[in-house]
Amino acid sequence: MKFTLSWLKMYLDTDASLEAIVEKLTLIGLEVESVEDRAKALAPFTVAYVVSAEQHPNADRLRVCMVDTGQGAPVQVVCGAPNARTGMKSVFAAPGTYIPGKDITLGVGTIRGVESRGMLVSEAELKLSDDHAVIIELPDDAPVGKPFAELRGLNDAVIDVAVTPNRADALGVHGIARDLAATMIGTFKDKPIKRIEAKFPCPVKVTLDFGSTPLLCPAFALRLIRGVKNGPSPEWAQKKLRAIGLRPINALVDVTNLLTFDRSRPLHVFDAAKVTGNLTVRRAKPGESLLALDGKIYGLDPDICVIADERGVESLAGIMGGEESGVSESTTDVLVESALWDPLNIAQTGRRLGINSDARYRFERGVDPMMTVPGLELATSLILQMCGGEASEIFLAGEIPDTDRLIDFPLSEVQRLTGLKATPAEIRRVLESLGFLIAGSGDVVKVSPPSWRADIEGKADLVEEIVRILGLERVAQTEFPRDENARKPVLTPIQKRTRAAKRALAASGLVEAVTWSFISKPVAELFGGGSTALALANPIAAELSDMRPSLIPGLALAAQKNADRGYPDTAMFEVGQVFTGDRPEDQLTAATTVRRGAARAAGTGRHWQSATGPADAFDAKSDALAVLAAAGAPVEKLQIVPGGPAFLHPGRSATIQLGPKLIFGWFGELHPATLEALDVEGPLAVSEVFLERVPEPKARATRTKPKLDLSPFQPVTRDFAFIVDRGVLADAIVRAAESVDKALISSVEVFDLYEGKGIEAGKKSIAIAVTLQPREKTLTDEEIDAVAKKIVAEVTKRTGATLRG
């Protein structure tokens, strides 16, 4: 909402400076977005008289001018504009002046051997227009030495405030002045609106015809002014409109725009000659359309409210008029409309048709119903003043809704909600200066909000008005007491796991990324998602259209992007939401890793100590297990089952589970077909674990750890190498060995895997180290041998292994 300082001062009598007014506006909730003070920027530019303009001795296109600036002797200025001539008046800038259009500070220069002590400027150089060909020409009577900005009427600051959607009343300068006056920065100048003497009855009648459907127009006031002479509006009106960025059209249209910004009272004017018969306000009929004032044709339907004459639709109610019935310079009889519209319908229609007009903006926020008729009177008086003519009576269809309501307001409410101790007198003064009526004098008063404040519903709104105007800075900081409860952890189990997973993965050398929650539909489908329920109806881009079922694709694509930038070895993770459906419980927290190139668990890149291939399923396995351990999963009990979802390499992937029903996640290398579909280079080693699947730890009554049970006897380790079929799982061998004596065998570790020379094709050698931990006595060689024999027998029995000789 833009307005000029002088416009504001029409309704606010104040000596306050522009700066003080601007600060106050922001502090009462009318946030100033910008202040354009052109008088300040253009202050050094003054009116000058060109005493003489002679041909430059060394350049055909230049002239040497002697310029009377009103200060001392004329100065010599070299000028290249074709219109520079003796006897003209123009605008002069002295050396040292900043030229906004050129972004330079002028100095004394020598141009083709002739000294130039200043400049005659074009409109472009002052950023007033794009005209840079000629220097500004001023009327002969322009006083030499006078600031140019003042002469042009630019010495009026333009203030732009952001008005929040609840403050429809502040979409007019009059309302802003009232708000400011309540802070006592000045006095509100609110003159009563005069009734115009009607000369004849309004010949055009209006019917509100909504049948049995909801009424979209509670009231519609119309008046005919006949015998007007339309044309350009007076300079003061044009100046006002231009200052706030509006283009003056003609007097009749300009009046409606003035009222829109002055009183937040949009109006519409019809050329009476182009209206046939009476007007009906109704829903549009299917198939109707309108050529609107913006030159576009809009298709209409019964959800859109229109004003129609006997031939058809003439105007889009409250949004934009029709081209056909619009006023022009030749208009002699004008119908002026001031109506009330259903805000919701205006908002919906405007949105559907894509029309953003100043009228729509105000009607959808709610205009003051009580201004419907007075607004028409104000417009009439301006039209009569600018265009002459005589006014009819006002025809009012429908009725002005009653906005009266009473709020029981305990004055203590201010302190209850804000802590601010305002006196009853202060509270009264603020409310009354904002137009509220107060009845009663006790601790609880009755307050009636003014008709222009539809946003005021109850006590809390009144409290806001009071603190807003008295100043939020008066609300003192009050220490917030920590309650007496014992300090307890504030994170939920899933929050703790999320945190732990992030730290564990970062501590494993991976870099945390945050990628979009939505991915493209084909990619979502590739990872088991892409259902209709999880597709956005209005995505901003095709590649951000579906809620992600997995974090792998986002990370895989990011890894490729990094590779394209020259960083092929990346280990990244994300811990974030994935979606298996659209219910809250379908949202899971995945902890996902992607390793690319030589970003292995042991270290990144080539290294002199070890030959490194690309990251593989085992790097991914180590990441998955790190997350699960950090999240509190029973790591030693987990089952690693070969194979996983279809997007993984079938031979180089596994599912991590605790029985077939409790699947924690998976790891492995991406399937080559997945890589191809994602258009990324592989191999990529990935893991994904769902943190919600980790069982919650049992609540414990004490933090004491279980007693440490140490055996006084030496543990003994024996190594065994088995030859088995290639398909036999190492895990099967380990479990077979463990099963021999669970009490005695404390660990079984695989320490070697060998295939190749010396081993039959299709077979492999797996070596395990079995540690025996006696608890009652030191083991004898015989006892150790006996256990070893049982181990060999059990492994052989379960896996078909032979002991390697």
Binding site: T26, P165, G419
Partner: protein, 360 residues
């Protein structure tokens, strides 16, 4: 007597002359072995008279001890010399690089780190952390929060919608973390003190807007908390979060459907030198919105607004991260560029604590 002296001189000379352990061993065997010179002398003791044996025996034993000590000494010397020679050959190039420890390679994203920082500050004030789903209903995201149907405030939210279901219900991506206020008040009785961090979405994308971003919301509901408390909490938070002694704040009246009175908060800062410095300067920078919970919101969750009251505030996590740590562009947060992540990310062991400082 002279024979012993001679033998001693010869033997000790041989010990000194021994070049290595085998040579020394030969000397030892020659002197002290079964048939060694000194051993042979000892054997002669049996044939002597007791007096002779007494003096002669003592002399021979002394000689034996002397030779023994010399050999042991020499053996130590030889061993030391041999080890020295061996170690001199066993040299590594200590300038060869080692692998960077994993904890030095990994990084925590600034969003995670800042959430941890915020949590540390508010946990200290007695707040717990609440969360809710990203996919929300119109009720939780708007209606329960007092957004009237069709109100322009809804339009300001640029909502991502899902396709309508057969029953007409249209789910959406939450446009703010405020729906969790409703979910919290529905499941928890006052007093309530929570913060709500999370991902939020708006279909908007430019230099300063991304379709996905992070917010943190605060909510207090009890029977006494007012605007003065809210101001105190926010001031304490800003001082702790930005790690400065003082922060000047400006509260401006504003509008949110779910709070009344509503305010936006600016903090004073100096942006003249390419970085933001808080607690100095003359610029005002908007950092959050807040207000007293609207009576209609309390009614919507079954709380009597004449009995219960409280406040809520919300701010952009990405935004305050940018302000604190100086990232110039919001979009880079979600581009997963490892160069950016390594530079602006945090080490996994940089755990924000109030005891050790939020950032180190």
């Amino acid at each position: 007597m002279t024979d012993l002296k001679k033998l001693e001189a010869e033997t000790l000379a041989a010990v000194t002359a021994a070049k290595d352990e085998p040579a020394l061993e030969a000397v030892r065997v020659g002197a002290l072995g079964k048939k060694g010179s000194i051993s042979e002398l000892l054997k002669t003791l049996g044939t002597m008279s007791p007096e002779e044996r007494k003096t002669r025996g003592a002399d021979i034993n002394a000689l034996k001890d002397k030779v023994n000590d010399a050999i042991n000494g020499k053996r130590g010397e030889l061993k030391h010399a041999a080890m020295g020679a061996q170690l001199a050959a066993d040299k590594v190039d200590v300038t060869l690089p080692v692998r960077l420890p994993a904890a030095e390679r990994g990084r925590i994203h600034p969003v995670s780190q800042v959430i941890d920082e915020i949590t540390a500050i508010f946990a200290d004030m007695g707040f717990s952390v609440a969360e809710g789903p990203d996919i929300e209903t119109d009720f939780y995201n708007f209606t329960a929060l007092n957004f009237p149907a069709g109100h322009p405030a809804r339009e300001m939210h640029d909502t991502f919608f899902f396709n309508p279901k057969p029953d007409g219900e249209r789910l959406l991506l939450r446009t703010h973390t405020s729906p969790v206020q409703i979910r919290t008040m529905q499941t928890q009785r006052p007093p309530i003190k929570v913060i709500i961090p999370g991902r939020t979405y708006r279909c908007d994308s430019d230099q300063t807007h991304t379709p996905m971003f992070h917010q943190v919301e605060g909510l207090v509901i009890d029977k006494v908390s007012h605007l003065g408390h809210l101001k105190w909490i926010l001031a304490e938070f800003c001082k702790a979060f930005f790690e400065v002694d003082d922060v000047k704040m400006r509260f401006r009246p504003s509008f949110f459907p779910f709070t009344e009175p509503s305010m936006e908060v600016d903090i004073q800062c100096d942006r003249s030198g390419g970085e933001v410095r808080f607690g100095e300067g003359t610029d005002w920078l908007e950092i959050l919105g807040c207000g007293m919970v609207h009576p209609n919101v309390l009614k919507n969750v079954g709380l009597d607004p004449d009995e219960y009251q409280g406040f809520a505030w919300g701010m952009g996590i990405d935004r305050i991260a940018m302000l604190k740590y100086g990232m110039p562009d919001l979009r880079a947060f979600f581009e997963a560029d490892v160069r950016w992540l390594r530079h602006y990310g945090f080490r996994p062991l940089d755990l924000p604590t109030l005891a050790g400082g939020l950032s180190s």
